[in-house]
Every structure is written in structure tokens, then in C-alpha cells.
């Protein structure tokens, strides 16, 4: 879960890091006059994205009029796909030097890594590329909750050496230690201050803050939630489509690959996917697209990502199919149940429940082609055969291969071929 800048600063401030005075978070430009701010102030777009400075989402203002004008220009703009709805108004500190300070996880070793540079600011990535000697990097292998003092001192020394006229090393070391401790305490994946400003009066102030919390650890961060005034985890997405929202409410990950209002091409075949786990959720998109290119003149379009693995309950399985059958653009559903932790039995019962309910309610029933193999297959097969005998009409367009007598790619190819053939007849 990503934190907004003002939230991240609250966390840092709680840890004892110095941050600029926060005058308020506003939704309208005309609120600024009533904040009682001491100018100059910074007007900052609150969006969950980096690169705000470069995108014009951060402006300095000397008085209310300037701040109001800045606010009007930023509010309603879109930064990296995120519409700007709120602004942080905070004191603009007087900067003598700008550093970079960050803690994250080294993807190569999974150890924590401490990063610092005396050349902080918007172009820190360029510094890393072009002047690697100006970047301090050190892995902290022990996963301790506190940073050993000598490492903090080493970082402070490195930063001070790169700043003209030096810098207060004790305050810098203190900031490094606190950032590290905050990172561990809130189960962060990233904790970053850029810039970390040395003010003209030699204070060390976190003028920006980025924090990403490990979603796996949110359950044990109730204290953080209370601090931020959040009652539940914030979903990290710009805008959900209606179907993405529907899937989220039903408890399974789903992503629309086409915009909700995209026109459908009558020559193409649109394939909805109920694929199994997240990995095959991604791979099945490739498989459908590749099979389309290889055998069907590129006329096959996968419409969604779905993670239907992890042992969903029967009603959730039914809802996965309902969602795609309600989706107008979909022509065919391809499904695979490779039962590991998930049960073939629950899967087939959920699918058939969906088809029977739709039939009874007079709703659209799409052809479903798929395969099931693995855990609980014998029971699933017995259920499938009995169900086909009971309601042959309802299940006539459901073609489920039992066992691995053909590979899934073949099942997809045959399903697509059947759907095109059905269209011609």
C-alpha cells in the first residue's frame, strides 16, 4: 500500500524525523486563505505516483494569491494516470543542500539496502546512472530493527563530504537511523526521502517522503492505520473499471484488458478467461493471443486477467463465470482448473451452478471450453457426467475435457475454432 506524501511525513515525524510544517490538505483552491499558513509555502499534488515535480505537480508560492493560483492549475490535472483531487500545503524550507536517502530491499539478495546521495532532487536517477560514485549503497544483512550506529555515521560522513561547506553529521546520522527504524517498524518495502534538505540554519528536514507498505504485513499495522486515520487498506489503483470493482467485491483479482467502452469488432472473437492461479492467469492471456496469431489470423482477443486459483469457494467460482457472461464483449469463455490446492470438484460445481442459474433466469449463456485435471478429479468427473445427464440442454455449450488427454493450448485452439464455426453457421 502506497502512502500519500503527507501520510508518509506523519509516519516519519512520529519517528522523530523533522518535516516541514503541514498547514493542511485541501480539495479546493479557496481553502488556502483560511489555513493561516506562513509563507512561502509549497503546493503539492497528492497522488500516488512519483515524478510530480517534473509533471508540474509541485509549486512554490510566496503568498495566498500565488498559492491559490498554483492550486487552481494543479487541481484536476492528471499525473501519471492519477487525477489530482487533493493538495498538501506545507511550509517551504530554505534549502542549502538537497540529499537523497532511501531504504529498500535489494531484489538480488532480499537484504535491506541503504541508499544515499548528497546530490538529491528530481534527477537522482540520472546521478545514479552518470555519477555512481556519488551514490552510497550498503546492504544491511542482519534484518535488525535498528540500524547499527556506525553505519548511520558512515552515511552521514559520506553525505557531508559531498556537500559544499559540510553538513551537521550528527543530525544526518540521526535521520538515517530514524528512516531505517521507521522502515522496519511499519513493515515498509520502500522508505525514501528526496530531497532530504539541509536548511540554511543547518537543520535536516525531510522535504518529501515516499513510503510503500508491504501489503502482506498490513494486518499487523493497526497502529499505523490509527495514526493515518485509515479504517481499511487502500487499494492501490488509479481507477477501477466497473467489472474490476465487481470482482474485487466478490473477492478475486481481475483486470480488464480492454477499456470498458471499447467498440467490439464483429470479425474478432473476444475470449474471457477463468484460468486458475495468477501465473496461469498471465500465461493464458499469452496463449490465447498466440493461438489467435498462429491459427486464426490474429483475430482472437483476450479480454481479461483473472486469478481464479487458491481454492475459491463454489459461489465465487460461479461469480467468476457470471461476470464474464454479463460482459457484453465476450464471445467465448476459456477455463482451466489444474487442481493443486484448488479442487476440480468445487470448480465444476460452481461452473454448472452458474450455467443453470442463468438458464433459469433467461440470461445469456456463453459457450465455455476448458479442461480440468488434478485434485478431486474423480469426484468432479462423476458430478459432471451426472449433471450432463440431468440438464443436457443447459450444458450443451460447455465442453470440459476431463484429465490431461490434451494440453491446454489444444483445448483453447479447439474452443476458438468451435466458436468461429458456430458464428458461420
Amino acid at each position: 500500500m502506497r502512502l500519500y506524501e503527507h501520510e508518509a511525513k506523519l509516519v516519519f515525524s512520529e519517528q522523530g524525523l523533522k518535516v516541514p510544517e503541514n498547514y493542511g490538505v485541501v480539495r479546493n483552491a479557496d481553502e488556502i486563505g483560511g489555513l493561516g499558513a506562513e509563507f512561502p509555502v509549497m503546493v503539492k499534488a497528492m497522488v500516488l505516483s512519483g515524478g510530480r515535480g517534473k509533471a508540474g505537480g509541485v509549486k512554490k508560492a510566496a503568498d495566498v494569491a500565488e498559492a491559490t493560483a498554483a492550486a487552481e492549475s494543479i487541481l484536476g490535472s492528471v499525473i501519471a494516470g492519477y487525477p489530482v483531487r487533493t493538495l498538501l500545503i506545507e511550509h517551504a524550507v530554505e534549502e542549502r543542500a538537497a540529499c537523497y536517502l532511501g531504504v529498500t530491499i535489494n531484489p538480488a539478495t532480499y537484504n535491506l539496502i541503504l541508499l544515499a546521495s548528497p546530490m538529491g532532487g528530481v534527477d537522482i536517477e540520472g546521478v545514479a546512472r552518470e555519477k555512481p560514485e556519488m551514490i552510497y549503497r550498503r546492504e544491511i544483512p542482519g534484518n535488525d530493527l535498528e540500524l547499527p550506529g556506525e553505519i548511520a555515521a558512515e552515511v552521514a560522513g559520506f553525505l557531508a563530504a559531498g556537500i559544499e561547506g559540510g553538513a551537521p553529521e550528527d543530525k544526518l546520522a540521526d535521520a538515517v537511523g530514524k528512516l531505517y527504524a521507521a522502515f522496519q517498524g511499519i513493515d515498509a518495502k520502500v522508505a525514501e526521502v528526496n530531497p532530504l534538505i539541509i536548511t540554511t540554519d543547518d537543520q535536516v528536514v525531510a522535504a518529501d517522503a515516499k513510503v510503500v507498505i508491504d501489503d502482506n504485513a498490513l494486518y499487523r499495522q493497526r497502529k499505523l492505520f490509527r495514526l493515518l486515520g485509515l479504517t481499511e487498506a487502500r487499494h492501490d489503483s488509479s481507477e477501477l473499471t466497473p467489472d474490476e470493482k465487481r470482482a474485487r467485491d466478490a473477492g478475486f483479482p481481475f483486470v480488464d484488458l480492454l477499456p470498458p467502452d471499447a467498440p467490439s469488432d464483429p470479425d474478432r472473437l473476444y475470449v474471457g478467461l477463468v484460468p486458475g492461479g495468477a501465473g496461469y492467469g498471465i500465461f493464458s492471456i499469452d496463449e490465447v493471443a498466440n493461438i489467435g496469431e498462429r491459427f486464426f489470423d490474429g483475430k482472437v482477443v483476450p479480454v481479461n486477467f483473472m486469478d481464479s486459483g487458491g481454492g475459491p469457494r463454489l459461489n465465487t467460482v460461479a461469480e467468476m463465470f457470471h461476470l464474464l457472461m454479463d460482459k457484453e464483449v465476450v464471445d467465448l469463455i476459456v477455463t482451466s482448473r489444474f487442481g493443486g490446492i484448488s479442487s476440480c470438484d468445487v470448480f465444476i460445481r460452481g461452473l454448472i451452478k452458474c450455467l443453470r442459474d442463468r438458464h433459469a433466469e433467461g440470461k445469456r449463456v456463453l459457450p465455455v471450453h476448458g479442461r480440468m485435471v488434478g485434485t478431486d478429479l474423480p469426484g468432479a468427473k462423476a458430478f459432471l457426467e451426472a449433471a450432463k445427464a440431468e440438464t443436457p440442454e443447459v450444458l450443451k455449450d460447455m465442453v470440459i475435457t476431463v484429465g490431461n488427454q490434451k494440453i491446454m493450448a489444444e483445448v483453447i485452439r479447439e474452443g476458438v475454432a468451435a466458436a468461429f464455426a458456430g458464428r458461420q453457421s
Binding site: 551514490i135 515516499k210 499469452d286 485434485t375
Partner: protein, 716 residues
């Protein structure tokens, strides 16, 4: 199951022992020598328990389950449970692998324990573990002697050895160099995603390409072993011809893997194929600079970055099942590992098998028509030869005690019976079961012995028998006769006194009275009294509470027939005397009268047995004890008399026989019921402990689904 018909390879030539050799060479040699690969399951919730069974079904030896506070229990009715990995390893030092199924909030502790116990292969199934915890786990694994897979892995399967550690479906196939014999050669597959792993393996198998190892490295952000840790290791295995890895968008594992291949090509001497997923996936969003600073100037996480990095390192990259098959065939040439036709037949046999009906097991008593077997010994052999405490030992411990233990248990039962009963009222006209249940409920607190060794449970069972004898004596007004009067007598004689046998009884009478209690010890889990006790055990009620439930269920409807039968036989005898007719005539007359009133005839008919296995032996004992009189004689004629009166047959049951013997012994008819309950306390105690030790709390019990899964031979 799929490999079920193939004989597994010797452990020493397989990939699993090869992997173990990299962390525990000492243990690898031992396992190669014993040819036994032991595994354990940590975390015994629904999934862990269920998959322990599926692993066993695949052919893997699941030596133990591990869950804190549950030592002494058994999962799947047979797999012993230990409190900690350390305890398990102390008992099973050759443990090769564990799978961890704990919830993400406690997975860290389990993994650290397994690593500290130096288990060579630790498979962390749990998903969604906080990264800070994962870092602790990984750091410990690096320091220790464990190869860590996961978290969020489906586990690993080694088809040639028939070893599954995790939740993978049973569809993977080894080479079959000779008919029905697995071979160690093949392709090794590693994947971040479970389902992709299965689909890759499936595609290769469809082309006759075998797998000697199918390994999920884990789908979480930080994992114990990455491609660059595992692929060089796997490539050193002589029997691996090709390594296939499956990566996907997100993270940087594939890019780092590619960089390692370029930097250290000598570690990658064998052919390598990569399937990368996510070519058509929408681009994700990233935030923060830290990633870019860690690896400046390098794109990572996308399909393109992964494909390009691997291609640049000389690895063939594919993005579809079809291309995977083609590319693997190009590398392996015309080589095939097994006959595809036979493979499909074997797979088909798997899914054509009818699903097994749900069931659960008991190891105590086999109940079939005309046959009752307790822990492998026919009850009709136990009745004449064993005392009640010996029977209790057999029921609870599933074996018979030696003479010294028997003497000790007898003494314990007598001591327990000599303690005064609680001050509970004995109400006139009340059913004996109700009075006894009240005594159990009001008795001094007993220490439950569920987490103790088996010996302690047997002691508890014998204690409960002693208390039951006391309560019976109090209820029948014979309490004073049990008090320690300095006389030396057996527990059998104590029982005789409790049910009101005369002063100066004989050893033959004592033996006969005790034999009736032994004949009543158990009838499986389905009698209402056993059901009541088992249900109380599902919620872990204290033993006296569970016994009160069970004993309380032995009303006049269930288990009360002996008393009614005794009254009937006595009435027959008296009528015959009164009218000077033959006993069997009197029996007919009374049967007719009863039939006209529409009442049931006590002591006849049984829902399972047509020839009750306890019948003949009790008759014979009565005969040899010299007490066989009019009532026993009538009881032997009942099977002839009854059809003559009623027009259909009903066999005499054990209650009928006990009633007749009690009557001829001159005991109050209520003694028949008292002996039934007293004996059954042993069986109820055994079911109580079995439920607690082998089943999860609060389960839904379907008694019709119970199956006997105990011994069929003599356990002595």
C-alpha cells in the same frame, strides 16, 4: 497415483537426494543407504492435514505432523504428531523434507524452527508472509543447512522417487526405461507460478518427455531459493538432461538469472529453456527511485526486459506451450522417456477411478455381522481369558499388557474404587444410567491425560473403571462392601461385590461376572452411548463429562435389555414352578402375553448380528462355572420358541444371555445393566481418547462414515 504403478528408483540416484547432498552431505548418504525418504508436515489445519493424506496417496512417506500443543495426537488417524520440529527430528533424525502450511502470521516461527533443526529441504507453502519475516527466514536458511523453497510455493514433486512435498497435483510422470519401473533421467522444471509449472510439465509429458523434478520456487516477492541458486545445482545432477524455467513479469529474478549465466557460464553446463509469461499483459505502475538506483540504467520487471536478458545470455525463450514442446524436442532430439499411450492410460485410470466416499477411521473395534474384533483380537477370545483392566489396556493402548502391568493396573483400579463416591443423591425409581451419570459429573476432578504418553491414558482409563465400579456399588447400595477391610481381593471380586454378589462368593462366580462386563466393553463408534461420548470429545469436554454423556445414554432403550431379559427369564422360571409346567411352555405363554401387549421382547434381535459372537462363550462360561440353571436353559431355547409364537426369527443377543446368567446367579436383574455399563466405560474412554488424538476439534461427525482402520492380526 499416476506413478503408482511404477516402482520408484533407489533414493540415492534421484534429484531429491542430490539436492540434500548440497546442504547435508552426511544425511544424503544415510538416506541413500536406507533408501527411505521421510517427510513431515508442519501446520495441521485443513489444508496441511488434507494434503498430508494426498502426499501419502501419491506414495510419499509422511512420517509426522508437527503442531505446537498437539503432541501425541495422530493425523489421518495414523500419522503421529510432534510439538516441534526439534522433537520430530530427535525421534526421526533422517527427516529429509518438511512442508510448512502455517498461516502467514506464524509461518516465520515454523520455518525458523525447521531450519534450526537442520531439515535439509524446507518447503514453505504459506503465502503472503510479511517481507520482514521472510528476510529473517532467508537469513537463517543462508546461515543454516537447509535448502529453502518458497514462500508461496506449491512445493516440489520428484516423480522417479515418488516423493511429493506440497500440494502439486499427481500428474507428473517419470521416465519408464523398463516396463513399470521408473527411471531417474529427465527434464527438471522450475517455476515461480504453480499452475504454469503444471501446464509446462503437462505439455512436456504429452510429448513423452519425463520430469525428474518439478519444483515451485515460490511466487512471493522474496523467496528462499531463486533460479540462480537452483539451476546450477540441478544441472550438476547427472540424470538431468535439460532444465526448463518458467518466469513471469514482475520482479527481477529472471534478469538477475540471465546476468549470472553470462557472468558464470561454467555453472550452466546443460541445455536451458525459459518460458516467460506476460507478453500481452498490461503494464504495471512503479513508484519510487530506489529500484532504479539499486540497478541503475537497467530495465526490469517487463516481459521485454526478461526475454531480452535471457536471450542475450544464450537461453531459448518461449511464450507458449506449443513452442515449449518444439524447443524441448529440438534440444533432446528424438529421445523419448516413456510410451505416451501408456502414460495416458495410466492417467485415465486415475480419473476413471470412482471417488472414494468420505470416511473416517477408528482403530479400536471392528464391527461386522457376527464378528467383533478389538485391536486385532476377536472379542470371543478376550471374554474367557482377559480381565476388565486388560481389556481396557487393549482398547486404549491397542495392545495387551504383560503380567506386571496387569497387576499394577488391577491395584490402581481397586484404589480408585475404594475412594468414596461424591455425595450425589440416589433417587428411587431413577434409571441406573442417570444416577451413574450424576456420579461422574460430581466426582473429583480428573486430570485429563491427552498430551501424556499412552501409558498415562491407560492409567486414566483404568481409573475411570475403578470409579465406575464405585458408582455402581453406591447406586445399588453396595458401596460399603468395597471399602478397604484389610482383605485382599481382585478387581473382579470388587465388581462382583459392587453388583451385589453374595458374601463368600466363589472364584468361578467372580470370573463369570467379570466376563459379562468384558463382553460389554465395546461395539464400535455407532452405539448411541459411543456417539454421545465422541461428540463430547469433539468439543474437548473433560473425560468425566464425556463419560457422563455416554453412560447417561445407556437408558432402558439402549443397553437396558439385559435387565428386562433377566426379569423375563425369572418370570418364566417362576411361572413354570407355579403351574408345574416346562420352562419352555412358560416362556411361550409369557411371550404371547407380551406380544399381545405389543411390547418388544428384551434380549432378542440385533441390528448387526444374527449370531452374536459373545453368546456361546458366555453360555459356556456359565456352564463351566456350574451356575447354569433354568434361566440359561430357557435362553438357549429362545431361538426356537420365539418363531413358534411370533412367526419370524429373532436371535438372542448378548443382553439376553447376560440377563439369563444374572438371573441364574441370583443377582438383582439391575446387575445386568450395571455390568453392561461398567464394561462399556472402558470402550467409551477409548473412543474419547481416540477422537481427541486423531480428529480436529469441532468436526462434523457422520457416524455412518466411520471405517475400521485398525489391526486385523493379533497385536500381542
Amino acid at each position: 497415483m499416476s506413478a503408482g504403478t511404477l516402482s520408484p528408483i533407489p533414493a540415492g540416484s534421484g534429484l531429491l537426494v542430490h539436492l540434500i547432498r548440497s546442504v547435508r552431505p552426511d544425511l544424503a548418504e544415510i538416506i541413500a543407504g536406507t533408501n527411505e525418504i521421510e517427510t513431515a508436515v508442519i501446520g495441521l489445519g485443513g489444508q496441511g492435514t488434507r494434503h498430508a493424506g494426498l502426499m501419502q496417496k501419491f506414495g510419499t512417506k509422511v512420517t509426522a505432523g508437527i503442531a505446537p500443543g498437539r503432541a501425541g495426537e495422530r493425523i489421518k488417524e495414523t500419522i503421529p504428531v510432534f510439538d516441534s520440529v526439534a522433537d520430530c527430528v530427535a525421534a526421526h533424525p533422517n527427516l529429509a523434507a518438511v512442508s510448512i502450511w502455517r498461516h502467514f502470521s506464524s509461518a516465520r516461527e515454523a520455518a525458523l524452527e525447521a531450519i534450526a533443526a537442520r531439515v535439509p529441504l524446507v518447503v514453505l507453502i504459506s503465502e503472503g508472509i510479511p517481507l520482514r519475516d521472510v528476510r529473517d527466514i532467508i537469513a537463517a536458511a543462508r546461515e543454516g543447512s537447509s535448502l529453502l523453497l518458497g514462500g508461496n510455493t506449491p512445493g516440489a514433486i520428484f516423480p522417479p522417487e515418488r516423493i511429493k512435498v506440497g500440494m502439486l497435483p499427481d500428474v507428473f510422470h517419470p521416465a519408464e526405461p523398463e516396463p513399470n519401473q521408473a527411471g531417474p533421467r529427465g527434464v527438471t522444471i522450475l517455476s515461480r507460478s504453480g499452475a504454469i509449472l503444471y501446464h509446462m510439465s503437462d505439455a512436456l509429458a504429452s510429448a513423452g518427455i519425463a520430469q525428474n523434478g518439478v519444483i515451485g520456487v515460490g511466487g512471493d516477492g522474496a523467496i528462499g531459493s531463486t533460479f540462480r541458486d537452483l539451476v546450477p545445482l540441478v544441472m550438476r545432477h547427472d540424470e538431468t538432461d535439460l532444465v526448463v524455467v518458467a518466469g513471469e513479469i514482475g520482479g527481477s529474478q529472471e534478469e538477475l538469472f540471465a546476468a549470472d549465466i553470462k557472468a558464470r557460464p561454467e555453472l550452466y553446463p546443460k541445455p536451458l529453456l525459459a518460458l516467460i509469461s506476460g507478453k500481452h499483459a498490461p503494464a504495471g505502475k512503479t513508484m519510487g527511485h530506489a529500484g532504479a538506483i539499486v540497478a541503475p540504467g537497467q530495465e526490469y520487471g517487463t516481459f521485454r526486459s526478461k526475454r531480452d536478458a535471457l536471450t542475450d545470455a544464450g537461453v531459448t525463450v518461449v511464450n507458449s506451450q506449443y513452442d515449449l514442446i518444439t524447443a524441448a524436442k529440438e534440444i533432446l532430439g528424438t529421445k523419448t522417456y516413456f510410451d505416451c499411450g501408456k502414460y495416458y492410460e495410466r492417467m485415465k485410470a486415475n480419473w476413471e477411478t470412482l471417488p472414494e466416499p468420505p470416511s473416517w477411521g477408528t482403530q479400536i473395534t471392528l464391527v461386522e455381522p457376527n464378528n467383533l474384533v478389538i485391536a486385532g483380537i476377536p472379542l470371543k477370545e478376550i471374554i474367557p481369558e482377559r480381565s476388565l483392566v486388560q481389556a481396557a489396556h487393549l482398547l486404549v493402548g491397542l495392545s495387551l499388557p504383560d503380567d506386571a502391568t496387569t497387576a499394577h493396573l488391577e491395584a490402581l483400579a481397586i484404589t480408585a474404587a475404594q475412594e468414596p463416591a461424591p455425595a450425589a443423591p440416589v433417587r428411587a425409581g431413577e434409571q441406573l444410567s442417570a444416577t451413574l451419570a450424576r456420579f461422574f459429573l460430581m466426582d473429583e476432578e480428573w486430570t485429563p491425560a491427552t498430551d501424556e504418553p499412552e501409558e498415562a491414558r491407560i492409567l486414566t482409563a483404568v481409573h475411570s473403571l475403578g470409579r465406575a465400579a464405585r458408582f455402581v456399588a453406591e447406586a445399588l447400595g453396595n458401596g460399603h462392601r468395597l471399602d478397604d477391610d484389610g482383605e485382599d481381593y481382585s478387581f473382579g471380586e470388587l465388581i462382583a461385590r459392587a453388583v451385589g454378589d453374595r458374601e463368600g462368593t466363589t472364584p468361578e462366580r467372580v470370573r463369570l461376572i467379570e466376563a459379562m462386563a468384558v463382553a460389554s466393553v465395546d461395539h464400535g463408534v455407532t452405539p448411541p452411548s459411543a456417539q454421545a461420548t465422541v461428540l463430547a470429545a469433539t468439543v474437548r469436554a473433560p473425560l468425566p463429562m464425556a463419560l457422563a454423556s455416554g453412560v447417561g445414554a445407556i437408558t432402558d432403550v439402549h443397553g437396558g435389555a439385559g435387565m428386562e431379559a433377566a426379569k423375563y427369564f425369572l418370570a418364566c422360571r417362576d411361572l413354570a414352578k407355579e403351574r408345574g409346567i416346562k420352562a419352555e411352555q412358560a416362556a411361550s405363554i409369557l411371550l404371547e402375553q407380551a406380544s399381545k401387549r405389543g411390547g418388544r421382547t428384551a434380549g432378542l434381535g440385533h441390528r448387526v448380528h444374527t449370531k452374536d459372537p459373545r453368546r456361546d462363550i458366555l453360555w459356556a462360561l456359565a456352564e463351566s462355572a456350574g451356575i447354569s440353571g433354568d434361566c440359561v436353559a430357557i435362553s438357549k431355547l429362545m431361538e426356537r420358541i420365539f418363531p413358534e409364537v411370533r412367526g419370524f426369527s429373532l436371535p438372542i443377543n448378548v443382553d439376553g444371555v447376560i440377563g439369563a446368567v444374572v438371573a441364574d446367579l441370583g443377582l438383582d436383574p439391575v446387575a445386568a445393566k450395571a455390568l453392561f455399563i461398567l464394561g462399556r466405560v472402558a470402550g467409551l474412554t477409548a473412543h474419547y481418547f481416540e477422537e481427541i488424538l486423531t480428529q480436529p476439534p469441532m468436526r462434523r461427525v457422520n457416524f455412518a462414515q466411520a471405517r475400521y482402520r485398525g489391526l486385523f492380526r493379533d497385536p500381542v
